[in-house]
Structures are given as structure tokens and as C-alpha cells.
Symmetry: C2
Subunit: 340 residues, 2 copies
Amino acid sequence: MDQRLPRKPTISDVARWAGISTATVSRALATPEKVTACTRAIVLEAVRKIGYVPNLAARNLRTNKTRTILAVLPDFSNVFFSRILRGISDTLVARGYSLIIADTRNDPAREAQYAEFILAGRVDGILLLNGRSILTRRQGRAAVPTVSLCERIPNARFPHIETENRESARMMTAYLVSLGHKNIGYVRGPITNVLEHERFAGYKDALLHSRLQYNPALITSGDFTLESGEAAAEAYLSKPKLPDAIFACNDEMAMGLIRGLSAAGVTVPCDVSIAGFDDIEFAEAYNPPITTVRQARRQIGERAAELLLQLIDGDLPAEREIKLAAELVIRKSTVSARTS
Amino acid sequence: MDQRLPRKPTISDVARWAGISTATVSRALATPEKVTACTRAIVLEAVRKIGYVPNLAARNLRTNKTRTILAVLPDFSNVFFSRILRGISDTLVARGYSLIIADTRNDPAREAQYAEFILAGRVDGILLLNGRSILTRRQGRAAVPTVSLCERIPNARFPHIETENRESARMMTAYLVSLGHKNIGYVRGPITNVLEHERFAGYKDALLHSRLQYNPALITSGDFTLESGEAAAEAYLSKPKLPDAIFACNDEMAMGLIRGLSAAGVTVPCDVSIAGFDDIEFAEAYNPPITTVRQARRQIGERAAELLLQLIDGDLPAEREIKLAAELVIRKSTVSARTS
DNA sequence: TTGAAAGCGCTAACAG
DNA sequence: CTGTTAGCGCTTTCAA
């Protein structure tokens, strides 16, 4: 019945309706304080009446901004990132920005695709959660504001946010000691990984501080996957004696450890206490629930987004590197040593 | 040392360099077939030399398109969605589109925010994974191409993609029967939920087909959370006799079931077999690994994205509703009935 | 096949 | 405080 072609109202429709200039409408909307309360009211009324919504493409072209941020992840099916992304997303959306997520899988082809995207001026800023830059040195000249988080990027000078990995690992190990455990194992992540490096250091800090002997026989290695945790379990089982407790560099490996041990009839935590790191979604859901280190993930995302927005607004941030404290979460996978 | 201010090269820089008009450059890039091989080569050379990358905002303004799609999720920290998103993302990126993810948490305020976003012309299409529309009826007049997936939207006529829920649930139940189980329990999802409805129907189909009596005493209810699965375990434990097997409407509840049962000394699968639905990331990681129904999640995402792109291109899709088959994944949480 | 020119919708000088 | 005006970078008639 309504045959008018529904062309979208533009700013000049609003101006016409309100009997003023487009410039004033634009100001009333973007910088209300530069306009009398009266005009503002009229404009708002007109906007509502006509159903006007600004065309972002036009605004972007004009202002040479996009109000869009790109977050680069190595793997967004990794549950670890979801809460961080929420922090990012909420902060950004509250400030009128939108977020595009690049799931690169560390695949150079995909990275190049997104690099192109950045160069095309489609984003105002970049959040790097993947531990490396995706722009080549030459492309980097374009200098899009960038913040890295979680995993530090070697040889890069981006502002950076991460958890206090070393200190947290120390705390967890100290907690295991406080439970009365003497022989505390550790499952390493990939030895080239920055996080593994920090956490392993924290583990050793705690041993030193407790005057416990660092014993290489208690150390195994994995690659952050559950399977590698299971392999580590096998490795421990093949040794003459099981540790009292084992601290895995991340939760997936802790889960693998539990599963591998259970399969061999060793029960957790009765026979051996297990702890992880990250508090991923399923750490609590696991059977048994896993004692772990909870990173302030949401907060990491929020802070990183805020920092990036500051950068975009041209304010240089006070600190270029922020370390956020984490929290121990004690669950059933750890228990006091038998006082036999 | 390089003091030239790095203004981004525009199409007219390319034109000047190549000694031709901007129109021809534009054509050489967008519709190469409308230009001689020779000019094309020159243009490409110029583009490379100058490092030209088209400004998308300008293109969008001119063409009134954005090459951006919005995916609306109720909760993107829900691992179930990650693989679907991958299918979507890969398909879209391959076609030169980018993806924005709206994490609404079913919060009307957030939904409104994104509705505004859509209306502002920032997206060419919408993918609804949240089981409801986020545009009001009136806003809907704007008619942005839309496809729904996973959860059907009541009273909406969007093209839709989902898993054959009913048939899959029937298969799983039949499998449990084939294992020799007679008393097969079922943990329901929220009774108003479409998925629960279908799966419950499939469960009953299988019983009927196997001439097993449908027994209300074997049915409990939950809300898809792990905690509700634990509560269901309690409910079963308080009954005079445990079922031989229990089929939960999703994996989280299956996990809760296992944990609740284990805590009471009932071992899975020895004492009772447990099956779930979805094959979320951690179904395999669980202790024990969970027998479940694996939806073709990546494919669901791909098909939905393709369908949406068709819609955007103005091709009406052949089918408005696609049901994809799922697959049974047998793991250690189910085992044959003791042939005592 | 190519070029000239208009204009997408908006914002930001600048002038009043 | 408000209006006039130019133009962001691109695509797309229209004419040559």
C-alpha cells in the first residue's frame, strides 16, 4: 500500500524538515554543545520523525576514520580468548567503535589478507593477540595505532598488556608447597614460547624460595595441547616414582594429565595433585575441577581497548607496558599431602 | 630521512602515473574485462609501484555497499559457535567480505545498539544465530538480507540452516538401544527451546521404533548448563534405580551428569552410559570423553554465508530451508550393557 | 575502449 | 550560533 520507494533519509532531509542547514544538523548530532538547546531539540525531533540514521560510509570518507578496530587472533576457537574479546568488544562498542576479528591461524596467507585490509584504511587501530605483527616492515610505515596483549611481540615496541605470568606461577607453586607437597612436577609449554618462559621461571622462583631442590627429573614437556598433557602423564607414569603434585603450564595440559593418569588408575587428587594455568571455561567443568590461575581476562581486554583508543585519540599513554595481577582458583584437583 | 609526508596514494595518483584517466583505472581494477590487456598491465604496474590500495569508505559511499556482514550471537564465549564462525568467516573473507560479530547476550540494549548499526547502513547482510530477530517490525522495513542458522526463529521467514536435530537424536537413542540398554533416560533442555523440542521428539521416536516403553520417570530437566546436569544427576540418584544409560540434550549437561554421578561414586560408563549432543570442543577432552552428536558446524556456517551472499547478489536461493545431517561420535562415556 | 564530469552523504573551514 | 561551500576518493553514466 505504501508505494513510496523507501530511499533512506539523509542529513539534508532532516535539514529541510527542520528548516535549517545541514551543517547545523551535523553539529547538533556530533557536537551538541555547539548548538542552542532549542535547535538541538528541533533536530532531534526531526531525526526521530523522519527516522534518520547517519550514513557511516560518508562520515568515514569525510573524516578519514572508520571507527572500526581489528583484533588479530591466532585461533578464535580457543576458548581462552572469548572473555578477553568480550572486554574488548564492550569497551569498543560503548565508545561507538565496532570490532572485526581476524582469525589468522598463524597462516601467512590469511595474515596478508588482513594486512591488505588494514592498508585499505578499513580500521583505525589494531589489537594483536597473536604474538606477532601481521604487517611487513615496509607496510608498517603506514603506522596504524597498535596495542599487543597477552603474548608479547619480540622486537616490537607496541604498548602491551599482559598477566603477571611469572609471579602467578610462583604463587601457584608456593601454594602447592603449602599443601605439604615436596616433589612438585612441572609440564612445560613449547620452550620457545614467552609465556612458558615466564611461568617456568616462576615455578623455579618458588622452589628456590622454599629451599626445595630443583629436580629435572620432575620436568616434562608439552605443546599446550591436551594430547601433550596425556603424553606427559605417560612420561611420569614410566618413572620410578610419581610426583606429589604437578603444575602444568596451561589448563589443557592439566586436563590431559588428569585423563592420562586416571586411565592408568591413578586418581586425582588423591594420588597426585594437579594444577593448571588460565582458568579456561572448562577448568571448572572438568572432572575433577581444576585448580588454576585465573587471569583477569576481561580486564586485559578492556585495558587494551582503552589504551588503543587513547592512542587513536593522540594521547600518549602513561605506561607502555601493563602487567595485571592474576588470582589463584583452588578447586578439587589439588589436596593436602597425606600426613602419613 | 624520508620527509615526504606519507599521504596515501589515491586512484588519481595511479591515473597520473599511468597517464590515463581515473575512470579507466577504476575499471581496470573492478572490471578488468572491460579494458585492454595492455592498459590493465599498465595500471597494475602503476598500482604496485605506487603502493595504491583502494579506499573502501569512498567505494562504499559511492556504491552504497559495505561488503560487511553482521553475525548476531547470543554468547560468543559459548564454544559451540566457534567452528560455525570459522565457516562463516572463511567463506566471507574469500569473497572479499568482512565479518562483524555482535555478542548480544540476549540483552535488548545491546540488540538495539546493533540494530542501529544495521540501520546506519554499515552492513550488507545479517546472520542470525541467536534464535530471534534484533530489528523491530518497523525497522524491519529496511529489509537487510538475512539468514538464520542453528536456531529457527519463530514467525520469521528468513532462509534457514540447521542440523537435523530430531533425526540425530533418534540415531543416538537407537545407538544406546543397540548397546543393550533398556532403561534410557533423557535430560531435557528448556522446554520452550526449539532444539530441545526436536531432540526430545527424536528420543521418543527411537523408543517407539524399538518398542521400548516411554517412561516419564526416566526424564529429568535442565537448562543446558553444566550445573543443571549435576542437578539432574542428583535427581537420578534419588530415584530407586539408576537408568542404564542417559542421553542429555547437550554436552554441557552430559558433563554435569558425569560429574554429579562420579561425585556419588557412580562411574561412567561402567555403571551408566552417558551421551550428549553437539560435540563441543571439550567433549573429547572430558574425563571420560563423551559420546555425542557432531553437528557439521563448519559446514553450517559455510552454507549460511553462501546463502546470504546469494541473497545479497539478488539470486533467490533454491531452498529456503536446509537441514544438514549430523554424525554420531562414539567415545568412552558409553559402553555395552553388562550381559549378566 | 576510454575520458570528462557528476555526485554518493557527510563534515569542517570560513564567513557572517 | 548558524549558513555556505568545498571536497573526501571513488564509480558510473554519457559521449567521444
